[in-house]
Amino acid sequence: MIERISGTRRTWCTVMKALCYLSLILVTALTAFMILYVLFRGVPHITPQLLFTKPSTLRHTIGILPDILNTIYIVIATLVVVLPIGVGAAIYLNEYATNRKIVELIEFAAETLSGIPSIIYGLVGMLVFVQFCSLGTSLMAGALTLVIMNLPTIMRTTQESLKTVPESYREGAFALGAGKWRVIRTVVLPTCVNGIVTGCILSIGRILSESAALLFTAGFAHNINGFIDGLGSAGATLTVALYVYASERGEFDIAFAIASILMVLTVIINLLTGYMGRLMKRRNGQ
């Protein structure tokens, strides 16, 4: 005869199972609530005037066009600088490095960088780029600060996809008499484009959501500039503008409008990275 499990054991199991379900429901509800609440309060205030004008004190209107442009500029400037450095560093670690000590040092540094809070990046960015390099409070100083912040992300994703390039590809190319650099450029890198793109998407997400590191480096001006002039002058990204409007000016409608734009972008970025992940898995399974 099979003995039935005791009552206390059964209760314990039920409680633990309930806690699991409860936690999951809580997390789901929280996410759903955040998205819906922000959209509900923000979307009605997204007007053409908001999107396509700059703020005017004379007419008492607020527009976020400058902030949108600044965000685009800073994303481009950051990626342009961080991509070669991060991909290059990953290539060094995976393809060139033979000395264990140097590899460990670089990996330790990258891990340390990814643990440093953004407010510290903001401070050091201010000291190094704004003051020491005398870039002034400018989008360029902000972008360079973000470069250091995003370096570990690009390095990690690139390195991960470099590791999935089969050794036989490299051997095949070497056996045809190709030099190391040619092998990397023509055979290895094209195979891991997906990983690099994933790194870019993740970085864009981080740049979009960053505020603390930008407050003291890129400032919070709302002027419309071209790309080159824009990089040289101070400017708020969408996220910084949200903070300024909510915290310092009490313009909650504007803040929620910006928040709903950011929220939609966050969801899109997550869908994209999920898609890239599946794409890579399918390819590696082949």
Binding site: S168, G172, G177, A178
Partner: protein, 250 residues
């Protein structure tokens, strides 16, 4: 005429000696088979001939490999130039993630050939030589990964032929293939040996018997016996060779 000759070749992986005093000389325009149980050093030896072992960390080599009268380890030798003349085909087909055309044009492009007309010519000739042309001529721009395993391996042979090497090293080229594809590759090797020197590592003794002019038997990093294939299989002078070719171990 001898094209490759090794003199007292020793090779270590770290502290493990994988090759011991190898002295072999390979004839031009012939097929030489290297046989022996796995781990005997035959693949290591093959990979030394075009210095692919340079890519493995912790490898130390002593002795000489004379190719066309020159020691390939001399500092004057450009390792990429050496691999240009001593091509290689691997155990598992390894086409690049490119079109069939680009795969074959990779070698010539690496060595500076840019002219479209010239490349077309080279690609066609390499595919014809590898008896693959008729099967792929309508889809040269399609990905090479869409080919079957046997076709992929012949593509890799065509890719190696496209740089017009003098020597072609084959590292168990048929071990991942079905019998029909294997037969095609063997046929191909035999048709190529009037123009190329082929050195092939194989697990399959029948294969060595079918295609090789000379055969070397490796055991524990040493060459036990090196002779014409006929003698190795019918009348070997060493009892260990006899034990191996008659299937008593391996």
């Amino acid at each position: 005429m001898t094209i490759i000759e090794t003199k007292d070749l020793d090779l270590w992986y770290g502290s493990m000696q994988a090759l011991k005093k190898i002295n072999l000389s390979m004839e031009e325009k012939s097929i030489t088979a290297l046989i022996g149980p796995s781990g005997c050093g035959k693949s290591t030896f093959l990979r030394t001939l075009n210095r692919m072992n340079d890519l493995v960390p912790g490898v130390r080599i002593e002795g000489q490999v004379i190719y066309n009268g020159e020691d390939i380890f001399s500092p004057k030798v450009d390792v990429n130039g050496l691999r240009y003349e001593v091509g290689m085909v691997f155990q598992k087909p390894n086409p690049f993630m490119m079109s069939i055309y680009d795969n074959i044009a990779y070698g010539p492009r690496t060595h500076g050939i840019k002219s479209k007309v010239k490349l077309d010519e080279i690609v066609e000739k390499a595919l014809v030589d590898a008896s693959l042309f008729d099967e792929v001529k309508d889809r040269l721009r399609k990905s090479a990964l869409g080919l079957s395993g046997g076709q992929q391996q012949r593509l890799c042979i065509a890719r190696a032929l496209a740089v017009q090497p003098k020597v072609l090293l084959m590292d168990e080229p048929t071990s991942a293939l079905d019998p029909i594809s294997t037969a095609k590759i063997e046929e191909l090797a035999m048709s190529l040996c009037d123009r190329y020197t082929i050195i092939i590592v194989t697990h399959n003794m029948q294969q060595a018997l079918r295609i090789a002019h000379k055969t070397a038997f490796f055991l524990l990093g040493e060459v036990i016996e090196y002779d014409t294939t006929e003698r190795i299989f019918s009348n070997p002078s060493d009892s260990r060779t006899e034990d191996y070719v008659t299937g008593r171990f391996g």
